[in-house]
Subunit: 333 residues, 2 copies
Amino acid sequence: MSNLITLAHGNGGYFMRQLIEEIFATHLQNPGLDTNTDAASLPTLDGQLMMSVDGFTVKPLEFPGGNIGSLAIHGTVNDLAVSGAIPKFLSLAVIIEEGLEQTTLSRIIASMAEAARDAGVQIICGDTKVVPKGEGSGIYITTTGIGVRAKSLNLGLAQIKTQDKILLSGPIGDHGTAVMLAREQFGLKGNIQSDAASVLPLCQALYDLPGLKFMRDPTRGGLATVLHEIQRARKLGLRVYESQIPIRDEVISVCEILGYDPFYLACEGRVVAIVDEKQADLALERWHKIPSGQQANIIGLINNDLAQVVLETDLGGERVLEELEDDPLPRIC
Amino acid sequence: MSNLITLAHGNGGYFMRQLIEEIFATHLQNPGLDTNTDAASLPTLDGQLMMSVDGFTVKPLEFPGGNIGSLAIHGTVNDLAVSGAIPKFLSLAVIIEEGLEQTTLSRIIASMAEAARDAGVQIICGDTKVVPKGEGSGIYITTTGIGVRAKSLNLGLAQIKTQDKILLSGPIGDHGTAVMLAREQFGLKGNIQSDAASVLPLCQALYDLPGLKFMRDPTRGGLATVLHEIQRARKLGLRVYESQIPIRDEVISVCEILGYDPFYLACEGRVVAIVDEKQADLALERWHKIPSGQQANIIGLINNDLAQVVLETDLGGERVLEELEDDPLPRIC
C-alpha cells in the first residue's frame, strides 16, 4: 500500500478497513471503541448529560504546540468544560483529502489519542470519508462530545449582573499567532506556541463556587467576541483594562508588524469566567494554583454604563471594542 | 448581504451569527436548540444510550429523491435504528466552501429539518466552518446521533449462526444510481430516485422478535459489503439468490451500460436483517405491511459451506462476490 491516502480508503471496502485498523483503531483503542459496529453503547452516566460539537479546518494541519488532531479533542472538551460538564465520550468524523500522507494522518491521530487520554475522554465511534484531491485541505475533523454536568451548577448568560468580575485564565492570542506564523507566508519566525490545551482543570477548579455565573473559551473571534456575546445577551456594559489583560510581548510584536489586533485572535486553551464580585478573588486564587492559570487575572467588570464593550487602554484612554465583522485570520481552528 | 457564503460567515463574528440565525436557527428551531451556548443539555433518557457518527460528502449536493441535508439525517438515524436504538438527538457540523449560494444552503438545511421531524429527532447543537473556495465541495456535513436502545434487544454479529435467514427490505442500488445519473457526466437520464429515507419503521417492526440477530443498512459498498462483513466476523458462508434480490430494471440497465455491479452500489434506505429461520417469515410479513418494505424478501441464508459470499445466479450458476477493493463510485454519501 502506498503511503498516500486514495479514494479507495473511503469506499467501505478492504482498503478502508485496513486504514481504520492500522491507524485509527491502533492509536485510539479503548474499551468502548468497536470499529465494526454502526453505533456504540454508552456506559450508564449519572447526572445531566450535555452534548457539544465542533468542526476543525485549521491550516496548516500541524503547528507549534499542537495539530488538528489534538485541537479537535481540546476544542470539544473545552466546550463541555466551560458549560460545566465533565467530558466523557467523543465521536470522531474525518474527511480526508486524497493524497494526504498516511504518516501525517498517523501523527495527527496519535496526538488525538494522547489529548483524549489526558482529558479523560474516550472516542467511542467514528467515520472516515475521502474526498478527491483539490476538494479538501489535508483533513477536516469533527468531534461531538458527551459530558456530565455537575449537579449544583447553573451557568448561563442570564446569571450575569452588574458588578460581576471578568476573569481571564492566561495570555490571549497565542494560538492565533502560532498558527499564523506556521503558515510561513509572512516570513516571520517566532517561538510562540499555541496555547491549545484542555481547560477542564481550570473549569473544574471553579465548579463549586456559587458565585460562578458563566464561562466561555475565547476561540474564533478571540476575547473581544466573548465579551460581545455577553454584552448582546445582557444589554449591559463591559469594561476591561488593557493593563490587566495578559498578552505575551512576542504576540504584541507580531500583531504590531502585521496589523492584527490581539483582542480578536483565537485562543484554544484559555477561559473567560464571569464571577460574582464577592468570589472573584477566591476564583483567581484557585486559578493561580493551576499551571495553566498562573497568569490569570481579573481583567474587568460588568457595569451599567453604555451598553458597549470598552477597553481602558494603558495610556488611560478608552477604546470601544467593536463586534468582529471581517475575518482577521481565517482557518484558525 | 450577498447571496454567496464568504469566509466571514465562519469567523465567529457578526456575519456568522446572522447566517446561523437566518438559516440554521430558522429551519432547525426546536425546544432543545440554543444557538448561543457551547453545549446543549440533553433531557433525561431512560435506557441504554447509543451514539453514532457519519460524515457526508455526496456529490452533487442535490439529487433526485434527496440532498446532502436529508441524507445526513437519514444516515445517522439509520445507523442507530439498525443498532436497535430509537434516535433522539443529533449534533450537526457543517464545513461550507466559500462561494456556496445561500439559497442552496437554505434548501439543504430545510430538507434536513424536514427529515429530522419525520424521524422524530431533534438537532440540539451545531457548528459552522467556512473554508476557502477550492478547499471544499459546496458543503460537507457531519451528524452525530444519540439514541436509546430497546431493553430486550441483543443484536450483534456474534448472534449469527448457520441456517439463519438473510432478509432485504427493498430494491438495491437506487441511491447509487440516482446520484451517478445526477452527476450528468454520463449523458444518461433516468427516473430513478434515491431510496434515501429513515429505516426506523422497518427496524422497529422487528425489535420485539427474539429471532432478530443483526441489522445493517447497506450504504457504501452496497449489499455485497454487508454480506462480507458478516462473513468476515463469523467465518461462515453466505448464500444469496439473485432471483430473490429486488433490483429495479432501470438500475440493472444503467449498471449494464456503465459496467457497474449493483451488488456494490449504495442504498440509503434499505435494511439487511439476519433472522432465525423460525421467525424469518414473520419478519418478512411485518416488513410487507410497511410502505418501504413492500418489496422486501428473504434473499438467502447463512450456511456451513466454504466461508465465502456466494451468489446463485438466475441462470443457476454460482458467482463468488469478492470483497470490494476498487471504488466503483466514490462520493455517494
